[in-house]
Amino acid sequence: MMLITCPWCGPRAHVEFTYGGDATVARPAAPDAVTAEAWLDHVYLRDNPRGPHDEWWQHTSGCRSWIKVRRDTWTHRVHGSGPPEANLGGDEHR
């Protein structure tokens, strides 16, 4: 059972959290201004990388904060976590 550090509550078992998907994609500020392809990409298409990856998690059974977690999808090692605006060292954001 993974240990995730909530930036507000400290290290907690992952069962306190809910996974919220890929944190490297951001909702376009003006959805009408992007192409249909770009919107499709935003809504449906996600990479499935092996290795460190930024993910959204919500501390649902704790402080209810949405946090960003940099987790290795292969080793399950959590490399870092922070508030949503945190830069955890990944450069795969798009």
Binding site: M1, L3, A13, V43, T75, R77, P84
Partner: protein, 1005 residues
Amino acid sequence: MNRQTHRTERGGRIDRSAPLAFTFDGVRYEGYRGDTLASALLANGVRLAGRSFKYHRPRGIFAAGGEEPNALVRIGEGARAEPNIKATQVELYDGLTARSQNRWPSLELDVGELGNVASWLLPAGFYYKTFMWPGSWWRFYEHFIRKAAGLGRAPVEPDPDHYDRRYAFCDVLVVGGGPAGLMAALTAARSGARVIIADDAPALGDSLLASTASIDGGDPMGFVSRIGEELASCPNLRVLGRTTAFGYYDDNMIVAVERRADHVPAPPAHCPRQRTWWIRAREVVLATGAIERPLPFEDNDLPGVMLASAARTYALRYGVRLAGRAVVFTNNDSAYEAIEPVLDAGTDVIAVVDAREGGPGGDALALLQRFEIELIPGSVVMRAIGRTVEGVEVRSLSSDGASVGDASRRMPCDFVFVSGGWSPTVHLFSQSRGRLRFDEERAAFVPEEGAPRERGGRERSAGAARGLVRLSECLADGIAAGADAARAAGFEAEAEPPCPAVQEWEDCAPVRALWAVPLPSWRHGKRFVDLQNDVTVADIELAVREGYTSVEHLKRYTTLGMGTDQGRTSNVNGLAVLAATLGAGIPAVGTTTFRPPYSPVALGAVAGREVGIDQTPIRRTPMHDWHAARGASFVTVGPWMRAQCYPHPGESMMDAINREARQVRRSAGIVDVSTLGKIEVRGRDAGEFLHRVYINRIRNLRVGRCRYAFMLREDGFVLDDGTVTRIRDDEYYLTTGTGHAAVVMAHLERYAQIVWPDLDVHLTSVTDQWAGAAVAGPRSRDLLAAACDGADVSDAALPFMGCKDATVAGAPVRIIRMTFSGERAFEVHCPADYGVHVWEALLAAGEPFDVMPYGTEALGVLRIEKGHVVPNELDGRTIPADFGFDRMEKDEDFIGRRSLERFRVGGRKRKTFAGLVSENGDAIPRGGHLVWNPTAPRPMRMFGHVTSSCYSPSLERHIALALIEDAADWKGRVLYAASPLTSSFVPVRITDHVFIDPENRRPKG
């Protein structure tokens, strides 16, 4: 009763003052406290313990611990019966009942033994080959094969016991209470670290309890007692006995099962039978010991063949006399340590067959000379003779180990004590993603140490678990591992315990790797590698010939290392035989993956307390007890219990529902809506935020007004419908569907925190803080006027979709005028603790109007009559336009708006909302599909489906709501609602989805 004919006069760690009676296959025996079932059976001279998995061969007790592959028994009777338990791990208690398995009609006379004679029908992978033709016979074969093969039968009754789960945290977790584990725990505890030591036996000590060495000049058992006392006195250390760590998970989470009451007939009422421990440890010491390997020779499975370590344990620890003559067959020195104890216990050891040409080391040799026991070096036991062991055939082994000599010598004997060397118990280490290394010198897989690795936990192995054999080494290694773990956890070991002085054999010879005794080509006897699964050397060779050359494929094809045993005694021999057959090295072949659980875990222990009614939390409204007292029946909606209807005495449920629904349309009814999700949204930008969330305009919503609104997911599908009420400039009150509250809350939080963090918005779930009652019906306003302590609830003061604060019988309430039933209606929300008070006040005020409580069923009927949607319709595949709600969509961004574009550019035709009326008076099947002609050949085209259905007491007909392609064009036509599952095919006429008051006058009047 049998009088323990095979018990020594004295000795052993059994309590001879506490005799215990038990039965095995209905025969009464006696044992002592401290016995295992296995040791007690042996003490009574029982040699036959079970029948083998595939060939039904008679099997005896082979081991003394958790590695036992043969003696699987069913313990207990009735609902408490548990199959496939190793007799070597069952603590004896008075009145224990045990049964052997996989035999019929009895253990002595087993019809299934024919399988042994006809074993040519059952080669490796036989179920893929032998019984395949003709194909239609498989059902016939399967019945008998399933019956013949296999282990014990599980009880069919519900488990009467309860189980528990505990979470624990520690700095150092030590798994294993043997020499290394004890020293590691003691060392770590002395550093001040919080330590947990988990040991699967009832008492600490493990191999020390059956050791011939002396420690600090005394008995090892005395040493164990001293260490145990010191551990017990450490406030920072917890000893978990009878606890098996079975899983090593991410970030040093180790899960163990503690058997609280398996050593008594039934757990006391207050005591869970078993308890799982979820232990989060900073550092882990794996002192899991080692398992002695067998030596596969012909008929090496006969009762009487036993691991040498088991023979030593039965003699030293249990005072069992294995009566008769024994031959020891070994490839290493450890087997010799069994000789003196079994001689003392009364076994006549006549010879030692040692595979090594040079024989054992000096100490073992001196022992043989002292007791005048014959040594036959450079030789092997070729074969065991008899039905149970009556003798052995011994031949010389060539120096390359590939063949045996021609000269054969027969020796009569009753036991063969075998030792093929030791395999470290590396299961937890492997689960922690540790790599194994084949150590040629020790002829064993040992943990690869020091290699940095990306995956896995923070653990270190100690003692026999990393391949050490000598007791002194194991003790010293335990101290080192305990100190290392404590340091890694941030503690400094201040007073490391001194390493005890051990007197043990010094002059030992190394092991000679021998994985299977060679078999001359003209002989066909079975050399069992895996005793539990009946896998022989020939099976492995056959699998290789058929192309199953990977160790993982071999496992699945032959079943080697499967079952409850998971290859404890067979893994290494099996893959070594595979390697030899392939002509490859053992490291190249590798091991199969070790996965949790290490040993079988009862499902009850996994479930813990979360069974039956406790499976999920149940939420009850503040008025729940009131409903229950009025005879309400309840229904589960999401996590909630809701009153379904309130049948009067003698009244059917259907009649109650119709009565309640009619009364709402006629006069007034009241329904508990406390289960609605309720969210408070505050902040400077609360309105702007909600404007972006809902498809509706929210910015222009005035204070004191309410709006029915939809929110979508980003893919355009409806997430939830609900209401938004503006309480103040910067405060809104949302309601969501009962089952959707948590999802909606998380959705809002996600957008507020991640997408639009610049907006000043604060979200609070207030579902539990507010109770709610909806008053509906033509007389609802009169009722409210009477209840509201004089507040003005006229159309002018409280128009449709208006909101105002008031009091009911002195309690503060928030009244929102909206309708679900289609009648004039008001939702009265109040602080949860006033729920019953307000509910009763409203009922009292409604007495002149014959107000009636109604439940979710009548509520459903009323909303279907009105054509309102619920999650039946909003099923995650529908968009607002399907219901005509696209008129609410504003021309500005909201969540999901951009995705709606794709539904406008064509593609598949969407189903839209319509009503159905039964043409023949039958109920319309829920979920039924709408077809043109139910007798048409299948597959037939389906035009839509029924989403909700009910009997309408107002229309006095069966009606339904549906989603239908081209619903507008089909209006007035008849289709069939088909439900082949219930064999109902009902003709239905398509109508508008609003059956009652299509002009919507009633709510506003």
